[in-house]
Structures are given as C-alpha cells and as structure tokens.
Subunit: 338 residues, 2 copies
C-alpha cells in the first residue's frame, strides 16, 4: 500500500456516531481522518440539542490539541494543516427544529451543518424508509428545504423513503446528500438506495457516502474489502466519480441502549429492532478490515488495488466531500449570521 | 319555541375556542350549555400545554361559580345539577405529546380528554386535510391510537385527510369523533367530510359534531337556520340519529392574531390563509341566528321546527355526546391513573 498517499489526502468521514472520547479522537487522527460528520442528535428536540452542543463545546475545550469545530469548509483545510480532526455537526432527524421554521437558521448559527429530513419514520417534513407508504415532502418540509438552502444547511436523505428522497432532490435548489447508505443493487436493505435515486442524486450534483455499517453490506459483517471496492466502482459508473465519498456510519463503543434509542426514540412502547431482529438485536460485528477509524488507510489501499487512480482515490476519500461542502455550507446573502 | 325543552336538555358544544372570560362563561350559561369541549391548545407542545392548563386552573379558581372542570362523564351530569358549565379539555393537534408515546397517559391524567391526530398539515401521527396527499396513519400514529384507546382519550379527526380518517376509524378499537365539521355534500370545503367517511364513522359508533363556522356552511355567513337543520336531517338519515351532535367551532372574541396562529403555527414563513384567502383573511362574519353561545336555544327551536321529536332534539343537542363520552372517557384496566 502507498501509505504516503493516504497521509497526503484530505480524508472525510461522511457520518459517525461514536461514543466520543479522547481515545476515539486519537484513533481518528491515527487513521488520517481530516474531518468527520458527527451526528450530535437523533431524536433530541431543541433544548436537548443545545445540551449536546454544550457537551461538544466541553470536548473541544478538553481536547483542543486533537479536534476542532468545523464552521466552514475552510476549517476542513485548516484542520489538515494543523493536524487536527475537524468535527462537523449533523442531525439524523429534524427534531432539533421541532415545529419551527425559524429554528433552521438558529441551528445553523450553532453550526448544525447537515440535517436529515427524516429518521426511518414519518416526520413533519417527509417520510422515512420504514413507513408502509411515502407521500413525499410535506407543506412544512417544502418550507424547511427552502430555508436550509438559504442558510447553507445540507439536506440529508439517508433514512428517507424513495419518493421523499426524489422530491427533496427535485425541490432543493442546492444539491443534497445521502451521507451514509449503499446501493440497493449491492445489498437490498430498506436503508439502501435504488439506482433511480442514485442517478437523480448524481445528476443533481449531490453526493453519496458509502456506508460501512454491516447491515448495509452484502454478506453483512463478512463483506470483504474487495466486494466493497467493487460496489464503489460500479456506483462510480452509475453516478460519476465526483459524486461519491465515504460515510462509514461507525458507531464505535456505543452501548446497546444507544442503538435502542436510535431505533425507538420515544415513539414506541414495543421494542423496534430496526435493521436487526429480536434474535439479532445487538450491534453487528465489525468488519475485519474496518474495525475503527484507525483502519481508514485500508480503504485507500483497497481503492488503489481496485484500480482507481490516485486522483480518483483522493476524490472518494474526501476531496468530493470537501468540494461539495465548499459550496453547500455557504449561506445565501441575507442570512442573518453571515 | 318551546323554551322549556331547551332548559331541560343537557346541551353539549363539541368544540369551541373562544377567548375565555367571565363574559363568555356567562353567555354559555345563559345559552343553557351544560358542557363545552374547549380547545386548550393548537400547536403548543408539552411545556406550553402545561402553561395553558395552569391558565385554566386559574379560571376555575376565579369563576368557580360559573364553570367546573370535566374529569369524567359523570361531571357533565353534575354540572347540569349545579347549573354550571362543564369544561372538557381538548387539543386540535398532537403537539402536546410531541414525539413521546408516554405523554398520552400523562396528558390524560391532566384531563386532556380529546386529541386530534392532525391539524391540517402532516403530523407525526397522520395526515391533515391540507396536504396534497395522505398516506394514512403512521407507525407512531398506530401506537398512539392504541394508547389513547387504553387511557380513554378520544381520537378526533376533524382536521385530518380522508384516508387517515378512514384508517383511524378502522384502527381504533373504540369509536372516534369528528368533533366539528359538516358533510362535504352540504358544502364542499376541504375541512368537510365525504359521505364515505361519515358512513364509516356512524357504523363504527362514532360521532359527528356539526360546525357553525361559516367557512363550513353553504352560503357561508348567510347560511340560514333552515338550511342548517336540513343538513342535520339528511346527515341523521346517513349516519343515524344517535351519531350526530353539535360542535360549533365558535371562536368568540378572538383577535386575528389567533386565527393566524391556528393557520400558521410556527411552520410557515409565508402567511397561510387556511380556509380564507389574502383578500378574505379575517374571521368570517357570524351567523345572524348564532352570534354567540346565548343563541343555543335557536338551534333547539330550529330542530323542533324541522320536525325532530323532543327525544331526537335532546340527542342532537347533547345526549348523544353524553352517551358517547360515558364510554369513551373510561380508561381501560391498567391505566396508571384510574
């Protein structure tokens, strides 16, 4: 492996929800990760989101030698220069804005840069991929997409239904992302995406982050690096080499209670097993070639071995995310906090 | 008019959202109203709902000679005996439970007796009648209906879409209400209900409260008492005489700002005019024969003149609501607060 290449790259992980600690930050740096899109909330509402941000502020204070907040795409380049790991805040549900259109800008002022319109279930904005039927983006959802476009907050449809995703791509005046999912043609999971969605995403200038969460992979935890890289190659053919990146969905060192929170929030009296089942309720076993963030160089090596050029590898490992965010995080004129 | 009959009746108004004051309570008593289903919240969430309940507690303290809280159907009969106006709490949206299934029972403990699953827009539970498309009751919505059934909180689909309403009737193990709406065959408004819905509601043992809000009436504010009573008669034929009541939707002495809150909540940056329009944005003019709660005797007289028997008039004016609530407000065994 050309380890030298990996060290030169701007490496971006398009989604993690790890149990953040100094140990995990050190692993990110050891793995050469320049920036991670960190999920700060799932189902947390306004007040709880502020508590999570306060916890992050404390982490920045304690571990400022290792990590730094990302308040613009320029901060990603700065993190690379400084040898730090940039932390970009994101939400996996729209609960941080509750029912209030004005909260989009307020959350963006607090550096919430990416927000999913739904997490599996129907939300006030759109439909999740676990509902029986998807009636698309709602009246409130249309206004929220416009507002996210205005303030420079990225729409993420990773956990949304097919129709809502296609409508969001169409309605949004700025490209959107699916930060962590794989093609359904590779592995037919509810969370993976049809070629129709992926083509529309690519054509609109959007971005797909490939997931390394075993439930999204062919053969689950036994999926090989070769199989993964084959999927990357065929998706590059479908969407374009500039429209793909990584979004590991790594949930390192999280207890089962966190998985249950992700799956159930507060909405269910019965246990919902999400992508698992009653007999398989726990976190999936990790991939042998991607146990934690220290294994990012394995991805670079795998892509090189698969025949991608150095430029293509750089794109997939982070350059595409960086170029996407260069534009996407820019507020439009008139946003109050510019 | 047989004024004596009206004075004997248990008169129930299936929905009001007036700007509550001693004057309005006096008008309710003067009009012979035994109980009013009072909307305490539209889009208010948990904390705000508690504030509204605290305001009501203060009203009960200040005006205990005129009004009393309704904590069971027995309290309605008690109000009649005492010559007071019973106040039954209801919500016109599901925002008081936010995203939390456990809040159904908590709100029922605080005497929230009726809750709409939606208010015009898509909610976390079901679809409102103003969305372009209705995909029915959501995963969370199914759980909430079961929980409302369990604790004895009435499902109200007055502002919901057709499909969601039919599904709620089907899913709910206990009969539901449409507390304030009219047949679309009488006046084709988005808020009025199809014969399909009304038949299903009647057959399931549910109840329709006829609205006196001019936007729900043929010829609007010019609708005559005769036309209204004709609608009652034809709906009695469709649904059964035991399945109908009154739900005036009286919003007395409310400023325009409250109408705007009802229509827009916090979800819209643009003004949404709801049933009105930019050129007709204000409250509609009141009916000449139903200006406020003092005019309830006009309804009794109109129904008598239309040929309903005294027993039928008594049913429509309140007995049907009372018998419905006798069962509907009973918690099932196991509800913590019984």
């Amino acid at each position: 492996m050309n380890k030298a290449l990996h060290n030169e790259l701007i490496v971006i992980d398009g989604l993690q929800y790890s149990n953040w600690s100094r140990e995990i930050f050190e692993q990110l740096r050891e793995g050469g990760v320049t920036m991670v899109h960190a999920t700060i909330v799932y189902h947390e509402q306004i007040r709880e989101t502020l508590l999570r941000i306060a916890e992050w502020n404390r982490l920045f204070e304690l571990h400022g030698d290792l990590i730094m907040p990302v308040k613009s795409a320029a901060d990603i380049r700065r993190a690379k220069q400084l040898g730090k790991v940039g932390i970009l805040f994101g939400a996996q549900n729209c609960s941080p804005i509750e029912d209030d259109i004005g909260m989009v800008e307020v959350m963006r002022e607090l550096n919430l840069m990416i927000m999913q319109l739904t997490y599996n279930n129907q939300s006030l904005l759109a439909c999740g991929c676990y509902e029986a039927e998807d009636s698309g983006v709602t009246r409130f959802g249309r206004q929220v997409i416009r507002e996210m476009n205005r303030v420079g907050m990225v729409v993420d449809m990773s956990h949304s239904g097919e129709r809502s995703t296609l409508e969001a791509i169409e309605l949004s005046e700025r490209p959107i992302v699916i930060s962590h999912a794989n093609p359904a043609s590779f592995h037919p999971a509810k969370r993976n995406k049809s070629d129709t969605v992926l083509k529309a995403l690519g054509q609109s200038g959007g971005l797909l982050g490939f997931s390394l969460y075993p439930f999204h992979l062919k053969n689950g935890s036994a999926c090989t690096l070769d199989e993964f890289c084959d999927m990357v190659a065929s998706t590059a053919d479908l969407m374009g080499i500039e429209r793909i990146g990584i979004g590991t969905d790594l949930c390192q060192q999280q207890p089962l209670s966190v998985l249950e929170w992700m799956r159930n929030g507060r909405w269910s009296k019965e246990m919902d097993y999400g992508e698992g089942s009653k007999a398989n309720a726990d976190w999936p076993a990790p991939l042998s070639w991607f146990r934690d963030s220290r294994d990012f160089p394995n991805l670079t090596a795998g892509l090189q071995a698969r025949g991608f050029s150095d430029d293509e590898v750089a794109r997939i490992m982070g350059q595409n995310w960086l170029e996407f965010l260069d534009d996407a995080l820019q507020p439009q004129p008139g946003a109050a906090f510019r």
